[in-house]
Amino acid sequence: MAVMTSEAPDEIHRSWRTAALGFCRRQPLGTFGLAIVIVTAIAGLSAEWIAPYNPTANDFEAMTEAPSWAHWLGTDQFGRDLLSRIIYGARTALIIGFISAFVGGFAGLVLGVGSAYFGGKIDLILQRVMDILMAFPLIIMALAVVAIFGTGVQNVIAAITVPLIPRCARVVRASALSIREVPYIDAARTSGFSHSRIILRHMMPNVVAPFLIMLTAFVGQAILAEASLSYLGLGVQEPTPAWGLMLQGGAEEYASTAPWIAIFPGLAIALTVFGFSLFGDALRDAIDPKLRER
Protein backbone atom coordinates (compact mmCIF):
# COMPACT_ATOMS: atom_id res chain seq x y z
CA MET A 1 0.00 0.00 0.00
CA ALA A 2 2.78 2.37 0.91
CA VAL A 3 4.46 1.72 -2.41
CA MET A 4 1.23 2.33 -4.29
CA THR A 5 0.51 5.67 -2.73
CA SER A 6 3.99 7.04 -3.10
CA GLU A 7 4.38 6.01 -6.70
CA ALA A 8 0.98 6.53 -8.24
CA PRO A 9 0.55 10.30 -7.88
CA ASP A 10 3.81 10.83 -9.75
CA GLU A 11 2.48 8.82 -12.63
CA ILE A 12 -0.75 10.79 -12.75
CA HIS A 13 0.73 14.21 -12.27
CA ARG A 14 3.76 13.54 -14.40
CA SER A 15 4.51 16.87 -15.96
CA TRP A 16 3.78 17.51 -19.59
CA ARG A 17 7.42 18.18 -20.30
CA THR A 18 8.58 14.86 -18.97
CA ALA A 19 5.83 13.15 -20.91
CA ALA A 20 6.74 14.95 -24.12
CA LEU A 21 10.45 14.21 -23.70
CA GLY A 22 9.68 10.57 -23.05
CA PHE A 23 7.59 10.46 -26.19
CA CYS A 24 10.42 11.96 -28.29
CA ARG A 25 12.95 9.51 -26.91
CA ARG A 26 10.83 6.41 -27.41
CA GLN A 27 9.17 7.38 -30.68
CA PRO A 28 11.73 9.01 -33.01
CA LEU A 29 9.53 8.46 -36.08
CA GLY A 30 6.53 9.85 -34.27
CA THR A 31 8.59 12.88 -33.31
CA PHE A 32 9.45 13.35 -36.97
CA GLY A 33 5.73 13.17 -37.79
CA LEU A 34 4.97 15.61 -35.01
CA ALA A 35 7.62 18.00 -36.40
CA ILE A 36 5.94 17.92 -39.82
CA VAL A 37 2.56 18.56 -38.20
CA ILE A 38 3.99 21.48 -36.23
CA VAL A 39 5.71 23.02 -39.29
CA THR A 40 2.45 22.72 -41.26
CA ALA A 41 0.52 24.26 -38.40
CA ILE A 42 2.94 27.18 -38.13
CA ALA A 43 2.74 27.73 -41.89
CA GLY A 44 -1.04 27.67 -41.81
CA LEU A 45 -1.38 29.91 -38.76
CA SER A 46 1.08 32.61 -39.76
CA ALA A 47 0.84 32.51 -43.56
CA GLU A 48 0.49 36.32 -43.78
CA TRP A 49 3.84 36.88 -42.11
CA ILE A 50 5.99 34.17 -43.59
CA ALA A 51 4.75 33.94 -47.18
CA PRO A 52 7.07 36.06 -49.37
CA TYR A 53 4.40 36.94 -51.94
CA ASN A 54 0.66 37.38 -52.22
CA PRO A 55 -0.57 33.86 -53.11
CA THR A 56 -3.21 35.11 -55.56
CA ALA A 57 -1.19 37.89 -57.24
CA ASN A 58 -0.40 37.15 -60.87
CA ASP A 59 2.98 38.21 -62.23
CA PHE A 60 3.00 37.85 -65.98
CA GLU A 61 6.67 38.75 -66.16
CA ALA A 62 7.59 35.64 -64.18
CA MET A 63 5.46 32.77 -65.50
CA THR A 64 6.52 29.11 -65.07
CA GLU A 65 9.84 30.18 -63.65
CA ALA A 66 12.11 27.50 -62.22
CA PRO A 67 13.04 27.69 -58.51
CA SER A 68 15.37 30.61 -57.91
CA TRP A 69 16.40 32.97 -55.10
CA ALA A 70 13.44 35.19 -55.91
CA HIS A 71 10.97 32.33 -56.06
CA TRP A 72 12.32 29.46 -53.95
CA LEU A 73 9.91 26.91 -55.35
CA GLY A 74 9.33 28.60 -58.71
CA THR A 75 6.13 30.07 -60.12
CA ASP A 76 3.08 28.65 -61.89
CA GLN A 77 1.60 29.47 -65.27
CA PHE A 78 0.20 32.79 -63.96
CA GLY A 79 3.42 33.78 -62.28
CA ARG A 80 2.10 33.11 -58.76
CA ASP A 81 4.76 32.21 -56.22
CA LEU A 82 4.48 28.47 -55.42
CA LEU A 83 6.02 28.72 -51.95
CA SER A 84 3.47 31.33 -50.95
CA ARG A 85 0.63 29.28 -52.39
CA ILE A 86 1.82 26.19 -50.51
CA ILE A 87 2.07 28.14 -47.26
CA TYR A 88 -1.44 29.53 -47.69
CA GLY A 89 -2.59 26.12 -48.91
CA ALA A 90 -1.52 24.68 -45.55
CA ARG A 91 -4.14 26.92 -43.97
CA THR A 92 -6.89 25.62 -46.27
CA ALA A 93 -5.77 22.04 -45.70
CA LEU A 94 -5.63 22.37 -41.93
CA ILE A 95 -8.93 24.22 -41.62
CA ILE A 96 -10.75 21.61 -43.66
CA GLY A 97 -8.78 18.73 -42.19
CA PHE A 98 -9.26 19.69 -38.55
CA ILE A 99 -12.89 20.77 -38.79
CA SER A 100 -13.89 17.62 -40.70
CA ALA A 101 -11.93 15.32 -38.43
CA PHE A 102 -13.19 16.91 -35.21
CA VAL A 103 -16.83 17.25 -36.24
CA GLY A 104 -16.89 13.79 -37.80
CA GLY A 105 -14.94 12.33 -34.91
CA PHE A 106 -17.14 13.77 -32.17
CA ALA A 107 -20.35 12.85 -33.99
CA GLY A 108 -18.96 9.34 -34.36
CA LEU A 109 -17.92 9.28 -30.71
CA VAL A 110 -21.40 10.18 -29.48
CA LEU A 111 -23.11 7.79 -31.90
CA GLY A 112 -20.69 4.96 -31.16
CA VAL A 113 -20.88 5.21 -27.38
CA GLY A 114 -24.64 5.79 -27.46
CA SER A 115 -25.14 2.83 -29.75
CA ALA A 116 -23.13 0.57 -27.46
CA TYR A 117 -24.80 1.90 -24.32
CA PHE A 118 -28.40 1.47 -25.42
CA GLY A 119 -27.81 -1.74 -27.37
CA GLY A 120 -30.77 -3.69 -28.70
CA LYS A 121 -32.82 -2.21 -31.52
CA ILE A 122 -31.22 1.24 -31.39
CA ASP A 123 -27.79 -0.33 -31.79
CA LEU A 124 -28.97 -2.57 -34.60
CA ILE A 125 -30.55 0.25 -36.61
CA LEU A 126 -27.64 2.67 -36.07
CA GLN A 127 -25.10 0.06 -37.06
CA ARG A 128 -26.97 -0.85 -40.26
CA VAL A 129 -27.09 2.84 -41.22
CA MET A 130 -23.34 3.01 -40.54
CA ASP A 131 -22.84 -0.10 -42.70
CA ILE A 132 -24.64 1.58 -45.57
CA LEU A 133 -22.51 4.71 -45.23
CA MET A 134 -19.36 2.58 -44.98
CA ALA A 135 -20.25 0.74 -48.19
CA PHE A 136 -19.22 3.82 -50.14
CA PRO A 137 -15.51 4.58 -50.38
CA LEU A 138 -14.70 7.88 -48.70
CA ILE A 139 -14.05 9.77 -51.91
CA ILE A 140 -17.20 8.49 -53.68
CA MET A 141 -19.31 9.46 -50.69
CA ALA A 142 -17.70 12.90 -50.65
CA LEU A 143 -18.32 13.24 -54.39
CA ALA A 144 -21.99 12.48 -53.86
CA VAL A 145 -22.30 15.10 -51.12
CA VAL A 146 -20.59 17.74 -53.25
CA ALA A 147 -22.70 16.79 -56.26
CA ILE A 148 -25.84 17.37 -54.21
CA PHE A 149 -24.88 20.51 -52.28
CA GLY A 150 -22.38 22.06 -54.66
CA THR A 151 -18.81 23.18 -54.10
CA GLY A 152 -17.43 25.65 -51.56
CA VAL A 153 -15.43 25.26 -48.37
CA GLN A 154 -18.43 24.49 -46.13
CA ASN A 155 -19.76 21.86 -48.47
CA VAL A 156 -16.34 20.29 -48.82
CA ILE A 157 -16.10 20.08 -45.04
CA ALA A 158 -19.54 18.45 -44.91
CA ALA A 159 -18.58 16.09 -47.73
CA ILE A 160 -15.51 14.89 -45.85
CA THR A 161 -17.15 14.86 -42.43
CA VAL A 162 -20.06 12.57 -43.33
CA PRO A 163 -18.00 9.56 -44.40
CA LEU A 164 -15.73 9.91 -41.34
CA ILE A 165 -18.64 9.54 -38.89
CA PRO A 166 -19.32 5.80 -39.38
CA ARG A 167 -15.61 4.98 -39.35
CA CYS A 168 -15.24 6.61 -35.98
CA ALA A 169 -18.54 5.33 -34.61
CA ARG A 170 -17.59 1.76 -35.37
CA VAL A 171 -14.22 1.81 -33.62
CA VAL A 172 -15.59 3.70 -30.63
CA ARG A 173 -18.57 1.34 -30.33
CA ALA A 174 -16.22 -1.63 -30.15
CA SER A 175 -14.38 -0.21 -27.14
CA ALA A 176 -17.56 1.13 -25.58
CA LEU A 177 -19.22 -2.30 -25.77
CA SER A 178 -16.65 -3.76 -23.41
CA ILE A 179 -16.97 -0.78 -21.07
CA ARG A 180 -20.75 -1.14 -21.06
CA GLU A 181 -20.32 -4.51 -19.35
CA VAL A 182 -18.07 -3.27 -16.57
CA PRO A 183 -19.89 -2.97 -13.23
CA TYR A 184 -19.15 0.73 -12.78
CA ILE A 185 -21.67 1.50 -15.50
CA ASP A 186 -24.26 -0.54 -13.60
CA ALA A 187 -23.13 1.24 -10.48
CA ALA A 188 -23.74 4.58 -12.20
CA ARG A 189 -27.22 3.43 -13.12
CA THR A 190 -27.97 2.35 -9.56
CA SER A 191 -26.95 5.86 -8.50
CA GLY A 192 -29.82 7.19 -10.56
CA PHE A 193 -27.82 9.02 -13.24
CA SER A 194 -29.47 9.86 -16.54
CA HIS A 195 -28.51 8.13 -19.77
CA SER A 196 -26.81 11.20 -21.20
CA ARG A 197 -24.79 11.68 -18.02
CA ILE A 198 -23.61 8.08 -18.05
CA ILE A 199 -22.70 8.28 -21.73
CA LEU A 200 -20.91 11.63 -21.52
CA ARG A 201 -19.25 11.44 -18.13
CA HIS A 202 -18.79 7.79 -17.39
CA MET A 203 -18.28 6.06 -20.71
CA MET A 204 -16.70 8.62 -23.03
CA PRO A 205 -13.58 9.32 -20.98
CA ASN A 206 -12.88 5.60 -21.07
CA VAL A 207 -12.74 5.45 -24.87
CA VAL A 208 -10.63 8.57 -25.28
CA ALA A 209 -7.40 6.68 -26.04
CA PRO A 210 -8.55 4.93 -29.24
CA PHE A 211 -10.52 8.03 -30.14
CA LEU A 212 -7.51 10.39 -30.01
CA ILE A 213 -5.45 8.08 -32.16
CA MET A 214 -8.21 7.91 -34.70
CA LEU A 215 -8.58 11.65 -34.66
CA THR A 216 -4.98 12.21 -35.78
CA ALA A 217 -5.39 9.66 -38.55
CA PHE A 218 -8.62 11.38 -39.57
CA VAL A 219 -6.93 14.75 -39.98
CA GLY A 220 -4.49 13.19 -42.45
CA GLN A 221 -7.28 11.39 -44.27
CA ALA A 222 -9.39 14.53 -44.44
CA ILE A 223 -6.48 16.53 -45.89
CA LEU A 224 -6.00 13.87 -48.54
CA ALA A 225 -9.72 13.81 -49.31
CA GLU A 226 -9.80 17.60 -49.60
CA ALA A 227 -6.84 17.52 -52.01
CA SER A 228 -8.51 14.81 -54.08
CA LEU A 229 -11.79 16.69 -54.28
CA SER A 230 -10.07 19.95 -55.16
CA TYR A 231 -8.01 18.18 -57.80
CA LEU A 232 -11.23 16.81 -59.31
CA GLY A 233 -12.60 20.35 -59.38
CA LEU A 234 -15.23 19.53 -56.75
CA GLY A 235 -13.52 21.04 -53.75
CA VAL A 236 -12.08 24.44 -53.07
CA GLN A 237 -12.34 26.76 -56.06
CA GLU A 238 -9.78 29.06 -57.66
CA PRO A 239 -8.23 31.40 -56.75
CA THR A 240 -8.15 30.09 -53.14
CA PRO A 241 -4.77 28.46 -52.65
CA ALA A 242 -5.25 24.74 -52.02
CA TRP A 243 -2.79 21.94 -52.59
CA GLY A 244 -5.14 19.72 -54.58
CA LEU A 245 -6.10 22.61 -56.77
CA MET A 246 -2.44 23.39 -57.52
CA LEU A 247 -2.03 19.94 -59.00
CA GLN A 248 -4.54 20.50 -61.75
CA GLY A 249 -4.54 22.90 -64.71
CA GLY A 250 -1.06 24.28 -65.20
CA ALA A 251 0.54 21.42 -63.30
CA GLU A 252 -0.73 18.94 -65.91
CA GLU A 253 -0.13 21.18 -68.91
CA TYR A 254 3.47 22.01 -68.03
CA ALA A 255 4.36 18.67 -66.44
CA SER A 256 7.34 18.13 -68.71
CA THR A 257 8.60 21.71 -69.06
CA ALA A 258 7.89 23.02 -65.54
CA PRO A 259 7.61 19.94 -63.26
CA TRP A 260 8.04 22.01 -60.08
CA ILE A 261 4.46 23.24 -60.44
CA ALA A 262 3.27 19.69 -59.73
CA ILE A 263 6.12 18.38 -57.56
CA PHE A 264 6.01 20.84 -54.66
CA PRO A 265 2.27 20.81 -53.89
CA GLY A 266 2.34 17.04 -54.31
CA LEU A 267 5.19 16.83 -51.83
CA ALA A 268 3.31 19.08 -49.41
CA ILE A 269 0.28 16.76 -49.48
CA ALA A 270 2.35 13.60 -49.17
CA LEU A 271 4.52 14.91 -46.35
CA THR A 272 1.63 16.28 -44.32
CA VAL A 273 -0.44 13.11 -44.56
CA PHE A 274 2.68 11.07 -43.80
CA GLY A 275 3.40 13.28 -40.80
CA PHE A 276 -0.08 12.80 -39.35
CA SER A 277 0.08 9.03 -39.89
CA LEU A 278 3.47 8.71 -38.20
CA PHE A 279 2.31 10.82 -35.30
CA GLY A 280 -0.93 8.85 -34.93
CA ASP A 281 0.92 5.53 -34.94
CA ALA A 282 3.42 6.72 -32.37
CA LEU A 283 0.61 8.10 -30.22
CA ARG A 284 -1.05 4.70 -30.23
CA ASP A 285 2.15 3.00 -29.12
CA ALA A 286 2.71 5.62 -26.47
CA ILE A 287 -0.81 5.38 -25.06
CA ASP A 288 -1.09 1.59 -25.23
CA PRO A 289 0.20 0.39 -21.85
CA LYS A 290 1.00 -3.04 -23.27
CA LEU A 291 3.56 -1.57 -25.67
CA ARG A 292 4.93 0.97 -23.24
CA GLU A 293 8.24 0.03 -21.73
CA ARG A 294 8.15 -0.07 -17.97
Binding site: A187, S191, F193, N206
Partner: protein, 332 residues
Protein backbone atom coordinates in the same frame (compact mmCIF):
# COMPACT_ATOMS: atom_id res chain seq x y z
CA UNK B 1 -45.57 -0.47 11.38
CA UNK B 2 -45.72 -1.35 7.68
CA UNK B 3 -42.55 -2.86 6.26
CA UNK B 4 -40.10 -0.61 4.41
CA UNK B 5 -39.94 -2.92 1.43
CA UNK B 6 -42.55 -5.44 0.46
CA UNK B 7 -41.95 -7.61 -2.58
CA UNK B 8 -45.14 -9.37 -3.63
CA UNK B 9 -45.25 -12.18 -6.20
CA UNK B 10 -42.34 -10.84 -8.22
CA UNK B 11 -41.79 -12.52 -11.60
CA UNK B 12 -38.81 -11.57 -13.75
CA UNK B 13 -38.12 -13.47 -16.92
CA UNK B 14 -35.57 -13.43 -19.72
CA UNK B 15 -36.55 -14.43 -23.21
CA UNK B 16 -33.53 -16.21 -24.67
CA UNK B 17 -32.93 -18.29 -27.77
CA UNK B 18 -33.27 -21.45 -25.69
CA UNK B 19 -36.62 -20.42 -24.23
CA UNK B 20 -38.03 -18.28 -21.45
CA UNK B 21 -35.93 -18.25 -18.30
CA UNK B 22 -37.98 -17.46 -15.21
CA UNK B 23 -35.09 -16.06 -13.22
CA UNK B 24 -37.38 -14.85 -10.46
CA UNK B 25 -40.55 -16.86 -10.24
CA UNK B 26 -43.05 -15.56 -7.75
CA UNK B 27 -40.90 -14.28 -4.91
CA UNK B 28 -42.43 -12.46 -1.96
CA UNK B 29 -40.67 -11.10 1.08
CA UNK B 30 -40.53 -8.09 3.33
CA UNK B 31 -37.76 -5.97 4.79
CA UNK B 32 -38.44 -3.79 7.78
CA UNK B 33 -36.81 -0.48 8.44
CA UNK B 34 -33.28 -0.92 9.79
CA UNK B 35 -33.38 -4.70 9.39
CA UNK B 36 -30.67 -6.83 7.77
CA UNK B 37 -32.02 -9.53 5.51
CA UNK B 38 -29.83 -12.09 3.74
CA UNK B 39 -30.69 -13.65 0.41
CA UNK B 40 -28.83 -16.93 0.00
CA UNK B 41 -28.50 -19.31 -2.90
CA UNK B 42 -26.22 -20.82 -5.51
CA UNK B 43 -25.11 -18.93 -8.62
CA UNK B 44 -28.05 -18.59 -10.99
CA UNK B 45 -30.70 -18.95 -8.29
CA UNK B 46 -32.10 -15.51 -9.04
CA UNK B 47 -30.65 -13.60 -6.09
CA UNK B 48 -29.05 -10.82 -8.09
CA UNK B 49 -31.84 -10.59 -10.66
CA UNK B 50 -34.29 -10.21 -7.80
CA UNK B 51 -32.23 -7.34 -6.40
CA UNK B 52 -31.86 -5.63 -9.76
CA UNK B 53 -35.62 -6.00 -10.24
CA UNK B 54 -36.19 -3.89 -7.14
CA UNK B 55 -34.19 -1.09 -8.79
CA UNK B 56 -35.82 -1.86 -12.14
CA UNK B 57 -32.46 -2.27 -13.82
CA UNK B 58 -33.16 -5.50 -15.67
CA UNK B 59 -31.83 -5.15 -19.23
CA UNK B 60 -34.92 -5.06 -21.42
CA UNK B 61 -34.85 -6.82 -23.84
CA UNK B 62 -34.30 -9.69 -23.08
CA UNK B 63 -35.41 -9.27 -19.46
CA UNK B 64 -38.80 -8.17 -18.18
CA UNK B 65 -40.63 -7.94 -14.90
CA UNK B 66 -43.89 -9.63 -15.82
CA UNK B 67 -45.84 -9.67 -12.57
CA UNK B 68 -45.80 -8.54 -9.02
CA UNK B 69 -45.56 -5.49 -6.84
CA UNK B 70 -42.60 -3.90 -5.16
CA UNK B 71 -43.86 -1.64 -2.41
CA UNK B 72 -41.16 0.65 -1.07
CA UNK B 73 -42.19 3.07 1.66
CA UNK B 74 -45.76 2.79 0.47
CA UNK B 75 -45.12 3.34 -3.25
CA UNK B 76 -45.20 0.65 -5.92
CA UNK B 77 -41.82 0.99 -7.62
CA UNK B 78 -43.09 -0.89 -10.67
CA UNK B 79 -45.65 1.82 -11.42
CA UNK B 80 -43.26 4.77 -11.12
CA UNK B 81 -42.19 6.69 -14.21
CA UNK B 82 -38.61 6.38 -15.44
CA UNK B 83 -37.88 9.84 -14.03
CA UNK B 84 -39.31 9.02 -10.59
CA UNK B 85 -37.48 5.70 -10.55
CA UNK B 86 -34.21 7.50 -11.25
CA UNK B 87 -34.85 9.63 -8.18
CA UNK B 88 -35.29 6.52 -6.05
CA UNK B 89 -32.04 4.94 -7.26
CA UNK B 90 -29.03 6.16 -5.36
CA UNK B 91 -31.16 8.45 -3.26
CA UNK B 92 -33.55 6.17 -1.37
CA UNK B 93 -32.04 2.83 -2.32
CA UNK B 94 -28.28 2.43 -2.53
CA UNK B 95 -26.42 -0.47 -4.03
CA UNK B 96 -23.06 -2.07 -3.34
CA UNK B 97 -21.54 -4.44 -5.88
CA UNK B 98 -19.41 -7.50 -5.66
CA UNK B 99 -16.30 -6.29 -7.45
CA UNK B 100 -14.78 -3.21 -5.84
CA UNK B 101 -12.06 -3.34 -8.52
CA UNK B 102 -14.46 -2.66 -11.36
CA UNK B 103 -17.34 -0.90 -9.64
CA UNK B 104 -15.52 2.41 -9.55
CA UNK B 105 -14.87 4.33 -12.74
CA UNK B 106 -11.10 4.37 -13.32
CA UNK B 107 -11.07 7.79 -15.00
CA UNK B 108 -12.90 9.74 -12.28
CA UNK B 109 -11.46 10.72 -8.92
CA UNK B 110 -12.94 9.21 -5.76
CA UNK B 111 -14.21 12.65 -4.82
CA UNK B 112 -16.07 13.13 -8.08
CA UNK B 113 -17.73 9.76 -7.78
CA UNK B 114 -19.05 10.55 -4.33
CA UNK B 115 -20.08 14.14 -4.94
CA UNK B 116 -21.72 13.39 -8.27
CA UNK B 117 -24.52 11.48 -6.56
CA UNK B 118 -25.09 14.37 -4.15
CA UNK B 119 -25.22 16.93 -6.91
CA UNK B 120 -27.59 14.74 -8.90
CA UNK B 121 -30.09 14.03 -6.12
CA UNK B 122 -29.71 16.85 -3.65
CA UNK B 123 -28.67 19.65 -5.95
CA UNK B 124 -25.76 20.29 -3.60
CA UNK B 125 -23.11 22.80 -4.62
CA UNK B 126 -19.49 21.81 -4.95
CA UNK B 127 -18.34 22.93 -1.50
CA UNK B 128 -21.21 21.27 0.37
CA UNK B 129 -20.73 18.08 -1.59
CA UNK B 130 -17.01 18.07 -0.85
CA UNK B 131 -17.63 18.54 2.87
CA UNK B 132 -20.13 15.70 2.87
CA UNK B 133 -17.65 13.49 0.99
CA UNK B 134 -15.00 14.05 3.67
CA UNK B 135 -17.58 13.27 6.34
CA UNK B 136 -18.54 10.04 4.55
CA UNK B 137 -14.96 8.88 4.18
CA UNK B 138 -14.45 9.45 7.88
CA UNK B 139 -17.60 7.47 8.52
CA UNK B 140 -16.38 4.45 6.54
CA UNK B 141 -13.02 4.63 8.28
CA UNK B 142 -10.72 5.99 5.60
CA UNK B 143 -7.81 7.97 6.96
CA UNK B 144 -6.72 11.26 5.39
CA UNK B 145 -9.97 11.73 3.44
CA UNK B 146 -8.98 15.04 1.79
CA UNK B 147 -6.10 13.35 0.03
CA UNK B 148 -8.10 10.25 -0.87
CA UNK B 149 -10.77 12.35 -2.55
CA UNK B 150 -8.25 13.56 -5.08
CA UNK B 151 -7.03 10.07 -5.89
CA UNK B 152 -8.14 7.61 -8.54
CA UNK B 153 -9.50 4.12 -7.85
CA UNK B 154 -6.30 2.34 -8.93
CA UNK B 155 -4.43 4.06 -6.12
CA UNK B 156 -6.56 2.32 -3.48
CA UNK B 157 -6.58 -1.24 -2.20
CA UNK B 158 -9.56 -3.55 -2.65
CA UNK B 159 -10.80 -3.12 0.89
CA UNK B 160 -10.58 0.67 0.63
CA UNK B 161 -12.45 0.64 -2.63
CA UNK B 162 -15.24 -1.35 -1.04
CA UNK B 163 -15.31 1.23 1.75
CA UNK B 164 -15.65 3.89 -0.95
CA UNK B 165 -18.52 1.93 -2.48
CA UNK B 166 -20.22 1.89 0.91
CA UNK B 167 -19.63 5.63 1.22
CA UNK B 168 -21.20 6.18 -2.21
CA UNK B 169 -24.19 4.03 -1.28
CA UNK B 170 -24.64 6.04 1.94
CA UNK B 171 -24.19 9.44 0.31
CA UNK B 172 -27.82 10.46 0.11
CA UNK B 173 -28.86 8.74 3.37
CA UNK B 174 -30.87 5.98 1.74
CA UNK B 175 -33.35 3.89 3.73
CA UNK B 176 -32.33 0.67 2.04
CA UNK B 177 -29.01 -0.64 0.77
CA UNK B 178 -28.75 -3.68 -1.44
CA UNK B 179 -25.34 -5.32 -1.21
CA UNK B 180 -24.73 -7.89 -3.94
CA UNK B 181 -22.04 -10.25 -2.61
CA UNK B 182 -20.14 -7.32 -1.11
CA UNK B 183 -17.25 -9.36 0.25
CA UNK B 184 -16.78 -12.12 -2.31
CA UNK B 185 -13.85 -10.44 -4.04
CA UNK B 186 -12.02 -9.52 -0.83
CA UNK B 187 -9.67 -11.61 1.25
CA UNK B 188 -10.93 -13.01 4.50
CA UNK B 189 -9.57 -10.50 7.00
CA UNK B 190 -10.84 -7.61 4.91
CA UNK B 191 -14.20 -9.37 4.49
CA UNK B 192 -14.71 -9.32 8.24
CA UNK B 193 -13.78 -5.62 8.46
CA UNK B 194 -16.18 -4.66 5.68
CA UNK B 195 -19.02 -6.69 7.15
CA UNK B 196 -18.47 -5.22 10.61
CA UNK B 197 -18.46 -1.76 9.08
CA UNK B 198 -21.69 -2.40 7.21
CA UNK B 199 -23.34 -3.89 10.29
CA UNK B 200 -22.30 -0.96 12.44
CA UNK B 201 -23.31 1.71 9.95
CA UNK B 202 -26.69 0.21 9.16
CA UNK B 203 -27.40 0.00 12.89
CA UNK B 204 -26.24 3.54 13.57
CA UNK B 205 -27.97 5.14 10.61
CA UNK B 206 -31.02 2.87 10.77
CA UNK B 207 -30.60 1.69 7.19
CA UNK B 208 -32.19 -1.57 6.08
CA UNK B 209 -29.78 -3.90 4.32
CA UNK B 210 -30.43 -6.69 1.85
CA UNK B 211 -27.27 -8.70 1.68
CA UNK B 212 -27.01 -11.13 -1.20
CA UNK B 213 -24.48 -13.84 -0.53
CA UNK B 214 -23.65 -17.49 -0.79
CA UNK B 215 -21.63 -17.31 2.38
CA UNK B 216 -23.66 -18.82 5.20
CA UNK B 217 -21.17 -17.58 7.75
CA UNK B 218 -22.11 -14.02 6.81
CA UNK B 219 -25.76 -14.91 7.25
CA UNK B 220 -25.34 -16.46 10.66
CA UNK B 221 -23.48 -13.52 12.02
CA UNK B 222 -25.09 -10.46 10.51
CA UNK B 223 -28.56 -11.17 9.20
CA UNK B 224 -31.76 -11.02 11.17
CA UNK B 225 -33.77 -12.85 8.57
CA UNK B 226 -32.73 -15.23 5.80
CA UNK B 227 -34.34 -15.94 2.45
CA UNK B 228 -33.02 -19.04 0.72
CA UNK B 229 -33.53 -19.04 -3.04
CA UNK B 230 -33.42 -21.94 -5.43
CA UNK B 231 -34.24 -21.84 -9.15
CA UNK B 232 -35.91 -18.45 -8.94
CA UNK B 233 -38.11 -19.23 -5.93
CA UNK B 234 -37.91 -18.82 -2.22
CA UNK B 235 -37.56 -22.26 -0.69
CA UNK B 236 -37.09 -21.25 2.91
CA UNK B 237 -37.46 -18.05 4.80
CA UNK B 238 -37.26 -17.18 8.43
CA UNK B 239 -35.28 -15.72 11.32
CA UNK B 240 -31.58 -16.41 10.83
CA UNK B 241 -31.16 -18.42 14.02
CA UNK B 242 -34.18 -20.62 13.22
CA UNK B 243 -33.04 -21.34 9.68
CA UNK B 244 -29.51 -22.00 10.81
CA UNK B 245 -30.30 -24.35 13.66
CA UNK B 246 -33.51 -25.92 12.43
CA UNK B 247 -33.50 -25.87 8.60
CA UNK B 248 -36.73 -27.15 7.14
CA UNK B 249 -35.84 -27.44 3.47
CA UNK B 250 -33.48 -30.10 2.08
CA UNK B 251 -31.64 -27.48 0.06
CA UNK B 252 -30.91 -25.34 3.10
CA UNK B 253 -29.81 -28.43 4.95
CA UNK B 254 -27.49 -29.38 2.10
CA UNK B 255 -26.07 -25.86 2.00
CA UNK B 256 -25.36 -25.91 5.70
CA UNK B 257 -23.65 -29.29 5.47
CA UNK B 258 -21.37 -28.00 2.71
CA UNK B 259 -19.83 -25.33 4.94
CA UNK B 260 -17.04 -26.07 7.44
CA UNK B 261 -18.09 -25.37 11.00
CA UNK B 262 -16.14 -25.00 14.16
CA UNK B 263 -18.86 -26.53 16.29
CA UNK B 264 -18.70 -29.88 14.50
CA UNK B 265 -16.01 -32.60 14.81
CA UNK B 266 -13.04 -31.77 12.66
CA UNK B 267 -12.87 -35.18 11.04
CA UNK B 268 -16.33 -34.85 9.52
CA UNK B 269 -16.11 -34.56 5.77
CA UNK B 270 -17.66 -31.63 4.00
CA UNK B 271 -20.70 -32.65 2.08
CA UNK B 272 -21.14 -30.86 -1.25
CA UNK B 273 -24.61 -30.41 -2.73
CA UNK B 274 -24.79 -33.14 -5.36
CA UNK B 275 -25.69 -32.41 -8.96
CA UNK B 276 -26.06 -29.16 -10.81
CA UNK B 277 -28.55 -26.32 -10.53
CA UNK B 278 -31.41 -26.99 -12.94
CA UNK B 279 -31.78 -25.54 -16.43
CA UNK B 280 -34.36 -22.83 -15.85
CA UNK B 281 -35.80 -23.19 -19.35
CA UNK B 282 -36.75 -26.81 -18.69
CA UNK B 283 -38.49 -26.84 -15.34
CA UNK B 284 -41.42 -29.23 -15.00
CA UNK B 285 -44.43 -28.87 -12.74
CA UNK B 286 -42.75 -30.46 -9.73
CA UNK B 287 -40.32 -29.20 -7.11
CA UNK B 288 -37.19 -27.86 -8.84
CA UNK B 289 -34.88 -29.29 -6.19
CA UNK B 290 -36.31 -32.84 -6.55
CA UNK B 291 -33.49 -34.29 -8.74
CA UNK B 292 -30.87 -33.37 -6.12
CA UNK B 293 -32.97 -34.07 -3.06
CA UNK B 294 -32.37 -37.11 -0.89
CA UNK B 295 -35.78 -36.85 0.73
CA UNK B 296 -37.81 -36.64 -2.49
CA UNK B 297 -41.09 -38.53 -2.53
CA UNK B 298 -43.66 -39.09 -5.28
CA UNK B 299 -45.68 -35.99 -4.45
CA UNK B 300 -42.61 -33.82 -5.21
CA UNK B 301 -42.87 -34.68 -8.92
CA UNK B 302 -46.55 -33.80 -9.17
CA UNK B 303 -46.77 -30.23 -7.96
CA UNK B 304 -44.62 -27.53 -6.49
CA UNK B 305 -44.80 -27.19 -2.76
CA UNK B 306 -45.97 -23.77 -1.63
CA UNK B 307 -44.08 -21.63 0.88
CA UNK B 308 -45.92 -22.33 4.12
CA UNK B 309 -45.35 -21.64 7.77
CA UNK B 310 -43.79 -24.02 10.22
CA UNK B 311 -44.54 -23.25 13.80
CA UNK B 312 -44.36 -19.64 14.85
CA UNK B 313 -41.89 -16.77 14.34
CA UNK B 314 -42.44 -16.52 10.59
CA UNK B 315 -40.40 -19.55 9.58
CA UNK B 316 -41.56 -20.66 6.12
CA UNK B 317 -40.52 -23.57 3.95
CA UNK B 318 -41.49 -24.79 0.49
CA UNK B 319 -41.21 -28.52 1.08
CA UNK B 320 -43.93 -31.16 1.35
CA UNK B 321 -42.03 -32.88 4.12
CA UNK B 322 -41.25 -29.71 6.06
CA UNK B 323 -42.73 -31.06 9.28
CA UNK B 324 -41.13 -34.50 9.24
CA UNK B 325 -37.68 -33.37 8.00
CA UNK B 326 -35.94 -33.19 11.41
CA UNK B 327 -36.87 -36.80 12.25
CA UNK B 328 -36.09 -38.13 8.73
CA UNK B 329 -32.73 -36.41 8.83
CA UNK B 330 -31.75 -38.14 12.06
CA UNK B 331 -32.79 -41.48 10.57
CA UNK B 332 -30.77 -40.87 7.39
Amino acid sequence: MPPLLEVKGLHTEFRTGAGVVRAVDGVSYTVHSGETVAVVGESGSGKSVGAMSILRLIPDPPGRITQGQILFAGRDLLSLSTEEMREVRGSEIGMIFQEPMTSLNPVLTIGRQITETLQQHRGADRATADRRAVELLNLVGIADPERRLRQYPHQLSGGMRQRIMIAIALTCEPRLIIADEPTTALDVTIQAQILELMAELTRRLNVALIIITHNLGVVARYAKRVNVMYAGRLVESGPATEVYHDPRHPYTMALLRSVPRLDRPRQARLDPVDGQPPDLTRLDGGCAFRPRCRFAVEACGESRPALEAIGAAGHLSACFRRDELPSVQVAA
